[in-house]
Symmetry: C2
Subunit: 345 residues, 2 copies
Amino acid sequence: MKRKSKSPLSKLGEFGLIDRIQNRQAFASKSVVRGIGDDCAVYRTSPGRFQVITTDALVENVHFIRKSHPPELLGRKTLAVSLSDLAAMGAKPILAVLALGVPRTLDLKFLDRFFAGFHGMCREFSVELAGGDTVRSPKEFWVSLTLVGDVPAKRFFTRSGAKAGHVLMVTGTLGDSALGLKLLSGKTGTPPISQKEKSFLMQRHFDPEPRIDFSRKIAASSIRVSSMIDVSDGLVQDLGHLCHMSGKGADLDGAAVPRSKQFEKVIKNKNLDEFPLCFEGGEDYELLFTTPPEDVKKIITVAKKVGLPVSEIGKITRHPGRIRLLQENESPKHLKPTSGYNHFS
Amino acid sequence: MKRKSKSPLSKLGEFGLIDRIQNRQAFASKSVVRGIGDDCAVYRTSPGRFQVITTDALVENVHFIRKSHPPELLGRKTLAVSLSDLAAMGAKPILAVLALGVPRTLDLKFLDRFFAGFHGMCREFSVELAGGDTVRSPKEFWVSLTLVGDVPAKRFFTRSGAKAGHVLMVTGTLGDSALGLKLLSGKTGTPPISQKEKSFLMQRHFDPEPRIDFSRKIAASSIRVSSMIDVSDGLVQDLGHLCHMSGKGADLDGAAVPRSKQFEKVIKNKNLDEFPLCFEGGEDYELLFTTPPEDVKKIITVAKKVGLPVSEIGKITRHPGRIRLLQENESPKHLKPTSGYNHFS
């Protein structure tokens, strides 16, 4: 079938579609504190008690290639992407329900391996698979996971509280997953890279580690965090969401955006453009957040305790929607958050 | 592609697959009161407070044909099937999250009409669409809905409490949806039926009405209900689940199983076999439940108040797994619950 290059959906894109869904005359519940538009929805379960919920789907040939994605790691990632959403809220995961679209010809071994990975991740993060639905899918294998969490610290993080002058910070390193995916595609040319770097970058792509531990420790502390989001659509795109929801802008310090040694080595060896990978590449599953300058040191202390690097990568400004990249000896460059990945184009 | 008639999945079937998933070494949370195996999972949100959660997926060309299913009604049904699960627990719906698999070429008008129906149903049952994920699906349109509810009456129904001697009851009428689907297939031959009957049966298929109101009134009363399940896989299949989970058997009074006037007329006119439709046909979305004989009258009173018929259709027996159909002038016939629909065969 010929692909329509200008289908209405490809023009609209995922976020346009979400706006369209959201704009309809929908019912608003008194229990729901935050609905569509954050990493999780937040709702009151009894006075002063909150829970969060998030849902994520992964589709064969859209989000993963079944033949090249180890089934155990796909099982882990199914949970990891939603755990990362809970991390962005400071919530503690409790239970999940899973809908599976299963082609009739799917190998049972694939499913067994998928669930070995999935249940392993459940044990690691204390999540019970409490229910599900298994349906036939005519062609592609797909999963749709919903994760429910608790807010034991009675405070949760959102995308919308960033204040001008607050420091922009990020956990871990960015771009590894996107570079891993690029290597997987085989389109990176010569020279070959060492197995050590390749393994690291592949692992970052196939087996992201949700930052639950760090986030929950911050939530349980008195450290002020004015906004938080997980970096799943790429730094520029997700910073765009955060700024949009907060009605602010940001100046990014390009040199401070954290790259792994492995990332830097491969970029240099292969002479690749790092910007689309490190600034726009998706699936980092790191946490991007803002804090008053006085609390930066305390955050670094918590991060050290859980063995996770954090970096200061910029500042929130009072200019709504203006995201600038600052680099030495260059004039500030305006970045457009819409440059993130559009599944429908 | 040639269809394998004996693929491992088709032999295993949906319930075999669920058993396989469930049997793995999974994490069990202290918060979860009931996990996989009931209409909803139940979990504690604070001392004495419970919530329920359920997930259901509908896939194009498996659960519906996009061209023959009015998009508004598909939107309504997306929520209705999960609302029916909540009804089976006696829970009050609160919020939903929705994952959508959208083909690139899908008409935006289809989506708009789908959401007009979906949001209408949300308003009718006071459900907030609190979050979601919109992903591309290479070919089929699919939806995966997760619904969260509250247990305000502090009691919930399960499949597992039926006691020998308790009366088996069911709401509404059975078989209408399956007959509607059969008429839709066009394979019912002559003579034609009146538009009036056709409309009724089609509506029962396309636009089932979840029995939330009845169920919540029962939950809020002191009426004893020892077990409850919604009839989505067909009466015999779902009675089988209820008996299995309760460790009991049942004697069904064949003549007492409620048929609508419209159902009886079409069956008679077209000389159709009613058993596969009324006893084994899926998607009735009525409630099947058990109660001590002393409480039957009270249940009938509640049902009258909400304008919903209820029928006594048999008795629970002490014989685990034995389900018998009793009919006048015939010896009891043993029914096999596994005769329900298998998506993978």
